[in-house]
Every structure is written in structure tokens, then in C-alpha cells.
Symmetry: C2
DNA sequence: CCTACCGATCGGTAGG
DNA sequence: CCTACCGATCGGTAGG
């Protein structure tokens, strides 16, 4: 009975996110999706407008989630070192709170059609710019090494990505602990000093 | 005339790698591919057996390339620190020497059909195991910090991945220099000591 | 290497 | 929410 209260559209969205993650957007058919929610393919269209709409909402939901976090961290924390540490933590929280849909945000967005494709790329760029600015501030203040801020940013972001690409719950440590270890690795390096 | 000597199958394979990278395996049709090599779709089958075959050969070619390198490095270099540094360099060389097909190795392999899917996953696992063993050896010898070797391995591998995901030639530094900076970042960390 | 064509499947609509 | 169905496109084959 409790399940009956979840809007059907949300149920469809979650099933879509899972299929997009497991097979990719293009390899997922509306008939696959219909079967996953125990409907006929045509009945899906009483709740959604198109396959594109599903991808679009999944991608932008995540993009906005990431951006809201970084803006908050810029206000709440003063030093670049704190901001970066919080950013890493926030990135992992967003990614693991909606672990199935993050793959679309990472990989399937390229199947977005215009004008949404352009808009999405701009949102992502904004996130990257803010991320880079924090690293740049750390370098300017002498807290971080004199690294290339773009390279450092992508290295950090990529390191966070493997966690939801390869991580499988209850197979190993918790995401929080993995996140801490990745943070330490990125900030202090692998070599002993 | 020089181009006439390149086997048609190779031309098709390279065009396929580019399309799989740009649109993904599922979203690439044999008619797209045919157009790219100025043929009718049906004519492709005089040179190849199936769409699957193209993906399979692209994926396994890269997998074998990566594995051959790591076996060689294990023999040629003695210390884990040297081996890791060489491994990072080798990974980047493989990735950039065939930059278009590396995306299939990274992302499109999941569209492989059995039994090749299982075989591919095993090859990749073997690469990861050897990579992890080198990090483990460095920890045992006291050269590396007491990190989780699996986490360290994935962090390193992911950091290498962004270079061919995001890097665009002549927009910035060379791959060699980017690789050096990423290496330094991973080994020494972002924070000043 | 082409024309002609196969059955299967695609996203989506009409109409109830 | 269903049945019935649309035109388009899919990977691939036959036959020359």
C-alpha cells in the first residue's frame, strides 16, 4: 500500500535510470522499460512524453544537485583546503544518494538532443569552473603545490568517478571510508615522504 | 594511391572505432558506418562478419596491448616505484597511440556478447590484478604509504582515464606532459608538505 | 561492390 | 491502462 503512493512517473524514472545504467540509453527500448514497471509500452506515455524526457530529467536533476552543493560550500567554508575536502565529500554524497542515475549524468548525457545538450554541457562547465577556481585559490595561497589547476581538477573528478563505476555495496568498505582514502591519496600522494 | 594499400577492413575498423567513440556502439548503425567509408551497408559484409566482430576486435586489441606492456614492465624494472611510473607512462602511450578505439575498451565493451564478454572481463581483471600487485609490493617494501591497494589502483587508473575522455589535442599541453603532471600529483599529492 | 529485400524491432500515436 | 497499429530503421542475406 505504501508503494501505491509513489507517483508512477517516479517509478518509471527510477526504472529508466537503472536500465540506462545497465545497458545504456540507446540500447534500452521503451518495451524494456515498460516490462520493468509492468506496463504496456504505450501506457508509459500516459506518464511521460518521450524517452528523451526521461534522459533529460535524470541528467539535469543530477547537474543541479552538484551545482547547488558547490555554491553552498563556497559560502560555508573559508579555506580552499576545507572547500576541496567538502567538495569531494559532497560529490560522493550526491553520487551515492542516487547511485543508479549518476551513470546517465556521467556517460549518457551525450544522447541528449538540442537545445538540452548545449545547456547540459554549460551546466557541467560551470561546475568544473568553480571546482578549478577552488584549486587555483589554494595554489595562490601557497597551500597547494604549483600544479596545473585544470589537470588537478580532472584528476580529482576522475578519481571520484571510479567509485560508482566499480564500487559494489557490501563487497568492501563503505563509500564514506573509500572517499576518505581517496581524499588522502589525492592530497598527500602515494609515496612516503 | 598510398591509401589504396591500407586493407579495407582496417579502414572500416578505424571508422567504426570513431563512431563507437562519438555515438556509442548501440547508437551507431551499419548504415552510418557504411557512409563513413563510402560503401553501401551490405558491402561492409564482404570485409567483416558482423557489427559485433568490430567491437570485439577493437576491445581485445586494446586489452592485449595493455597486458603485453605490464608483463614487459615487470621484467624490465626492479622497484615498485619505477614499475608504477613506467606503467602510468605505458598506459598513456597505449591510450594515445590509438585514441579513438580506447573509448570502446573503456565504455563500450559491455555490449560484447558471450562468450567474449566474460573473456574480456577476465583479461581486464588480470591487468588490474598485476597493477594492484605492484602497488602492494611498494607498500610491503615501505616505499608507498599504507593505502588500500585496490583503492589506490582504481584511483590511479581513473586518473589516467580522464586524459582521453576530456583531452583534446593542441588545445593545451601534450599528453606526455599531462601524464607527468598526473604522475606527480598521484605520487606526491596536491598539498604542500 | 551493388540492388533488392528480409523479419524484427524501434519510438510513438489513435482510439477507446 | 489496453489493443491495434504506424512509418522508420535496424543488422544482415540473396543473388548477381
Amino acid at each position: 500500500m505504501a508503494e501505491a503512493d509513489i507517483p508512477k512517473k517516479q517509478v518509471i524514472m527510477e526504472a529508466a535510470a537503472r536500465l540506462f545504467r545497465d545497458r545504456g540509453y540507446s540500447a534500452t527500448s521503451m518495451r524494456d522499460l515498460a516490462k520493468a514497471v509492468h506496463l504496456q509500452a504505450s501506457s508509459l506515455y500516459n506518464h511521460i512524453n518521450s524517452k528523451q524526457e526521461l534522459l533529460r530529467e535524470i541528467c539535469f536533476q543530477n547537474a543541479n544537485h552538484f551545482l547547488a552543493g558547490i555554491e553552498n560550500i563556497e559560502k560555508e567554508y573559508a579555506t580552499p583546503a576545507e572547500q576541496l575536502e567538502q567538495l569531494i565529500q559532497h560529490h560522493l554524497i550526491v553520487a551515492t544518494s542516487d547511485a543508479t542515475s549518476i551513470t546517465s549524468f556521467n556517460d549518457e548525457w551525450r544522447h541528449l538532443e538540442e537545445p538540452y545538450l548545449t545547456e547540459f554541457v554549460q551546466l557541467r562547465k560551470r561546475y568544473e569552473n568553480r571546482f578549478r577556481a577552488i584549486i587555483q585559490a589554494g595554489i595562490d595561497q601557497g597551500i597547494f603545490r604549483d600544479a596545473d589547476p585544470t589537470i588537478a581538477m580532472y584528476t580529482v573528478l576522475s578519481s571520484l568517478r571510479w567509485i560508482y563505476d566499480w564500487y559494489r555495496p557490501n563487497r568492501s568498505k563503505s563509500v564514506a571510508i573509500i572517499g576518505q582514502e581517496v581524499s588522502k591519496l589525492l592530497l598527500s600522494g602515494l609515496k612516503k615522504t
